[in-house]
């Protein structure tokens, strides 16, 4: 009888560390095509509409960049915490706070055309995101409270705060009662960097974060200490690393990144505060980006481009295939499932067939 068994590997497979994300992407595509066929679509047309169509012109590439940029930025920040097993899953809320803080600055200096408005918006955005992340950090370090649930609950709270602001105090007085703020003045908007696209200068912040985290993860003693705290908390205690510090840094890094992404969204494509535009789901999608990118900056860069493509594909599918745009979220979820599933191959290998002969071979290794 043919049986499939998982056999522990003597050493974790280094190649599977890199191969399993690719395998997961492959499985997601295969599965996706089957779903498209099931929905009565021609798989080739569907594939084209989903993955090629959105990026076959410059404008599309620009869209890819402005979607990938916040995803990568947030994922980089989250990776700092995830490496230490600090589970900040409330980046969405921190992003909203970043948007609010940056938007607040933009509205406050509505009349100003100073060059300092934009930097101030980003500082405010980062601080806003950090403040929101500081709540779970404080509660975890002071009261031992689970940061997963607290950070997640604060997403809903952040959404309500934004909703209140744009329904109430910050509502555009000339907006016919629509729940949105005024359009920001030009001094509060990021310059475009590629002619003919919406790609804006916020991308540079992501690039900077990419460089900083690469150096930090590779050479930073603190990053090493946080990694130890994540892999073996007792070893961190034994070595004398401060665990509270780890929690704070892990959460604040994610908060700052999400806040910056929020500021960048506010000052970038939207230029105003608006419920639909500000609640993007990037904070949740970035969790997938961080995992698929293996919590590594370069991996995150690629994963963010892929995830951005899935977003665009979903929009394109809506237009060209009359499919609900939520199809992209299904793909995103599937991608993470397949990744988690294929990760088993890092520590185990599949063994087919009757157990005896194969086991003997394993024993001889």
């Amino acid at each position: 009888m043919l049986s499939i068994k998982l056999v522990p590997r003597p050493q974790p497979s280094k190649s599977m560390v890199y191969l399993s994300p690719l395998l997961a992407i492959g499985l997601m595509l295969v599965f996706g095509l089957i779903v498209f066929m099931f929905l009565g679509q021609n798989p080739v047309t569907a594939f084209h509409a989903f993955f090629i169509e959105p990026v076959n012109d410059l404008y599309g590439l620009g869209e890819l960049l402005i979607k990938a940029s916040p995803l990568a930025l947030i994922a980089l920040g989250l990776a700092v915490g995830f490496r230490a097993n600090i589970w900040n899953i409330g980046a969405e809320g921190q992003l909203i706070l970043g948007t609010i803080a940056a938007g607040g600055v933009a509205l406050w200096f509505y009349e100003s055309d100073s060059v300092f408005v934009l930097p101030l918006m980003f500082i405010a955005g980062a601080l806003g995101g950090m403040a929101w992340a500081a709540i779970p950090a404080f509660l975890r370090t002071r009261f031992n409270t689970n940061e997963i649930l607290v950070s997640l609950m604060l997403v809903y709270v952040a959404g309500m705060v934004l909703s209140w602001l744009i329904h109430g105090p910050w509502r555009d007085p000339d907006g016919f009662g629509f729940p949105q703020s005024r359009m920001f003045s030009d001094s509060a908007l990021l310059p475009l960097i590629i002619e003919g696209t919406r790609a804006h200068a916020g991308i540079f912040i992501t690039l900077l974060a990419l460089i900083v985290t690469t150096i930090f993860f590779r050479w930073g003693l603190l990053a090493f200490q946080m990694r130890v705290a994540g892999l073996a908390p007792k070893a961190a205690g034994y070595a004398g690393f401060n665990s509270q510090y780890t929690v704070w840094i892990g959460l604040l890094a994610g908060g700052a990144a999400a806040g910056l992404a929020g500021a960048s969204e506010a000052a970038g494509p939207f230029g105003q505060l608006d419920m639909a535009a500000s609640v993007t789901g990037y904070g949740f999608a970035a969790i997938i980006v961080a995992f698929v990118g293996r919590l590594h900056p370069v991996g995150i860069l690629f994963a963010s481009l892929l995830m951005a493509l899935l977003y665009l594909g979903g929009e394109s599918a809506q237009v060209n295939l009359a499919l609900p745009s939520a199809v992209s979220k299904v793909f995103q979820g599937l991608l993470l499932f397949f990744l988690l599933a294929t990760d088993v191959l890092i520590h185990f290998r599949l063994q087919f067939g009757s157990s005896n002969a194969a086991a003997r071979k394993a024993g001889a290794l």
Partner: protein
């Protein structure tokens, strides 16, 4: 027990109770058992002897149906059987007392025992039967207590009673004495002999030569998964058994008495600490002093406060009182491990993977764990990879760590080699005070002897050493003075040559204040 009695009626030369023929079990990295054969007669106490990693536990798990061997046959009373699960093993009449107990802390004794029964039990009746059986065999137990409130010895009793209730015809004991005082070992042996007299066969797993010679009728010796001898241990010397077990004579540590006793380096004064929870032990007014150039040993049955003392000394759980721990004359009670390291304290914990080293990280990165402040970083917060690897390489070479190099993951090494690396790392970081917990626990004989010798050499260089161990033989081999931990108290330290195993055993059993007993005066 009627069943057990009836087996005595069989002529002993009939079928063996259990016979294993050519059992093999392979794991990805090792061959745990290779063509192992063994037979146990009714009423026989049969030793399975071998050092750590020889494949003893794997073999017993195969007999108990926990794992399935790839090859070989098992015969029960002369009939070939396929033991596919513990439930089936129990049905045949096989009971097993596990080395790391298979008990559930938050459940009561009677609940624990009912879980090993294969059908639903009336808890009241079961409790009554537990009381009866435990009284009959002199293993007193209260069926309604929670397991986490029990001492280690009592937990073992639960496991034994759990087996006895099923009227076993074969009892497997996996390293049962590692948690007992010498006196408790004697009591256990009496129980086992009585069971054997009633016709129950016993498989006794151990690496302790003296115990096997005292208890067992027959011994099967394993080395690296294979049988290297079958013998009557009563006819053998420890030396000849050791040769079968490790292929050479037991190495003995060269340990002349301490020569140059220096100044007091580690001073603990009236250290008291409430336990974190009911699972822990409170420390009660602990006093100890270790001077440079000597080794102080702390004996005791595990769970008597050793963990708590060690984490208080290492700084992983700092105390409120700065004065209760002094390192080289500096009050250090409130300092964290990193700060204490600056004062010359180095600590080698009992848990190697997960505490002393990060299993998923390379050996080089593991050097960084405690060595980062010693030249392996630059510009304050950045890792100097060149220095880190050089240190790791030097440690591997100097301490003869078998591995593929500094990039090898810590968890890919054998227990002995991980321990050599950690010991080496801490020694290369120049300790003035070294605290070591269970230095050779789970380590093969060769590496154990190397580690003990290293500790003695370190003493002769003037380092103050504190060694906490459950192995009395080890403490008597390397220590200059010895103290005993029991229920969170530490006895006064005695010079090793002024005490003996029996006295230490009594102290381990909780008989404090023996300073005035005749025994102590006699040897003083």
């Amino acid at each position: 027990m009627t069943q057990a009695h009836s087996t005595q009626a069989h002529p002993p030369q009939a079928h063996p109770r259990l016979e294993l023929r050519n059992i093999s079990k392979y794991y990805p990295t090792i061959i745990a058992n290779k063509a192992v054969s063994l037979s146990v007669m009714p009423g026989e106490i049969h030793a399975v002897l071998g050092e750590n990693g020889a494949g003893k536990s794997t073999l017993m798990k195969a007999v108990y149906g926990v794992i399935k061997p790839e090859e070989g046959e098992i015969f029960w009373d002369g009939v070939a059987v396929n033991i596919s699960s513990p439930a089936q093993a129990r049905k045949l009449g096989i009971g097993m007392v596990f080395q790391h107990f298979s008990l559930f802390d938050t459940l009561t004794v009677v609940q624990n025992i009912s879980l090993a029964m294969d059908s639903k039990q009336d808890m009241g009746q079961l409790a009554q039967r537990i009381s009866e059986v435990s009284a009959r065999y002199g293993l007193p137990l209260n069926p309604h207590r929670l397991v986490h409130d029990l001492s280690v010895g009592e937990r073992q009793r639960v496991e034994i009673v759990r087996c006895l209730l099923q009227q076993p015809r074969l009892l497997i004991m996996d390293e049962p004495t590692s948690v007992l005082t010498p006196q408790a070992v004697n009591k256990l042996f009496a129980t086992l002999r009585r069971l054997a007299d009633e016709g129950c066969s016993i498989l006794y797993i151990s690496h302790k030569l003296d115990e096997i010679r005292a208890l067992c009728h027959k011994a099967t010796v394993l080395r690296m998964g294979q049988v290297t001898g079958v013998t009557d241990p009563r006819q053998e010397t420890s030396k000849s058994l050791a040769e079968m077990m490790i292929g050479k004579e037991l190495p003995v540590c060269d340990h002349p008495p301490a020569q140059h006793i220096g100044s007091e380096r580690l001073v603990v004064t009236q250290l008291s600490r409430a336990a974190d929870d009911q699972f822990g032990t409170s420390l009660k007014a602990i006093d100890l002093r270790v001077r440079g150039g000597e080794i102080l040993g702390i004996a005791g049955v595990s769970g008597n406060g050793q963990q708590e003392l060690l984490s208080a000394l290492s700084g992983e759980k700092p105390s409120e009182q700065p004065q209760d721990i002094q390192l080289n004359g500096t009050a250090a009670g409130r300092l964290n491990p990193a700060q204490r390291r600056q004062l010359g304290l180095r600590f080698i914990p009992e848990e190697r993977l997960g505490r002393g080293a990060v299993p998923e990280m390379s050996l080089a990165h593991n050097a960084l764990l405690t060595g980062h402040s010693q030249g392996m970083r630059r510009w304050g917060g950045f890792i100097d990879y060149r220095k880190m690897r050089a240190f790791s390489k030097a440690c591997i070479d100097k301490f003869n760590v078998k591995c593929s190099g500094p990039e090898a993951e810590a968890k890919s090494l054998s227990g002995g080699n991980v321990q050599k690396y950690i010991v080496g790392r801490e020694i290369m970081l120049k300790p003035e005070i070294l605290i070591v917990a269970q230095p050779t626990w789970g380590v093969d004989v060769g590496a154990a002897s190397f580690i003990r010798q290293t500790l003695v050499d370190l003493r002769d260089e003037g380092v103050a050493l504190l060694v906490v161990s459950e192995e009395l033989d080890e403490l008597f081999e390397i220590c200059d003075r010895i103290a005993v931990m029991s229920e969170g108290r530490l006895s006064a330290a005695k010079p090793i040559r002024a005490t003996n195993l029996e006295e230490i055993g009594l102290l381990m059993g909780g008989e404090m204040h023996t300073d005035s007993t005749p025994l102590a005066q006699e040897v003083a």
